[in-house]
Symmetry: C2
Subunit: 139 residues, 2 copies
């Protein structure tokens, strides 16, 4: 396993407060992609005195420190996820909202190539696929 969020904070000189420790813990333990409201709810169960302003400030700080990433999936609120070595993109079930993470090296390479073809160095990218389940009960 990789570094904990707390370790990352220490390495990056981010001051650790109780609130941040709690937010870090909740994010580490979340396998989904909570929005700020949801995160606030989870965090409030541990410490009901934390304010939502702190949650907003903290996710922003963690994002800037490369600890979390922010996703802005279609039409919704900003959602967050812990950033680990393994980069991945998202496939979103438009019926259920379920999110599947995937990696496709070939797509990654092609993206780089496209950027270069246009004279750019690729710095970041966003790839989201939206789909519906192909299953047994064909409509």
């Amino acid at each position: 396993m990789s570094e904990t969020i707390e370790q990352k904070c220490l390495n990056k000189g981010v001051k650790l407060t109780d609130q941040r420790r709690i937010i870090a813990k909740v994010m580490s333990e979340s396998n989904d992609h909570p929005d700020v409201d949801e995160l606030y709810k989870r965090v409030s169960k541990i410490d009901p005195k934390i304010s939502i302003a702190t949650v907003y400030r903290t996710v922003k700080l963690f994002e800037e420190s490369g600890i979390l990433t922010k996703h802005e999936f279609k039409g919704g609120k900003a959602r967050y996820e812990e950033l680990n070595e393994g980069h991945h993109d998202h496939l979103i079930d438009i019926k259920t909202g379920e999110i599947i993470e995937f990696v496709d090296d070939e797509i990654e390479k092609l993206q780089k190539k496209v950027a270069e073809k246009h004279g750019y160095k690729l710095v970041d990218h966003k790839l989201e696929l939206y789909g519906v389940k192909i299953n047994s009960n064909n409509e």
Copy 2:
């Protein structure tokens, strides 16, 4: 050239009002990706009495009718673009904000394949590349 926005409205049974005609015209003539505020400014030059609520209502209606697409590029406001046959994705210069449109069939195919691999039919997707210009004056 393809159908005009006005023709599309007729085909889809979208009632044409003066305001909608103006918004349609401005969008057709825009080669960039204006946000609602910017669109409102442009539209106001033609008819200063149009309200921003109408602009919001109209872009939403046009989006639902498949006439415009909405983009939510990183951290900004929603931006709109006329939807034509030729689908394309966007490469955004993170220094200047310039937007380059591109098409890459191979990436498109791979996206479909990835979705299928996970048991999904690809319905929609979002691909944005963010880059910096590689140029003569290397920093």
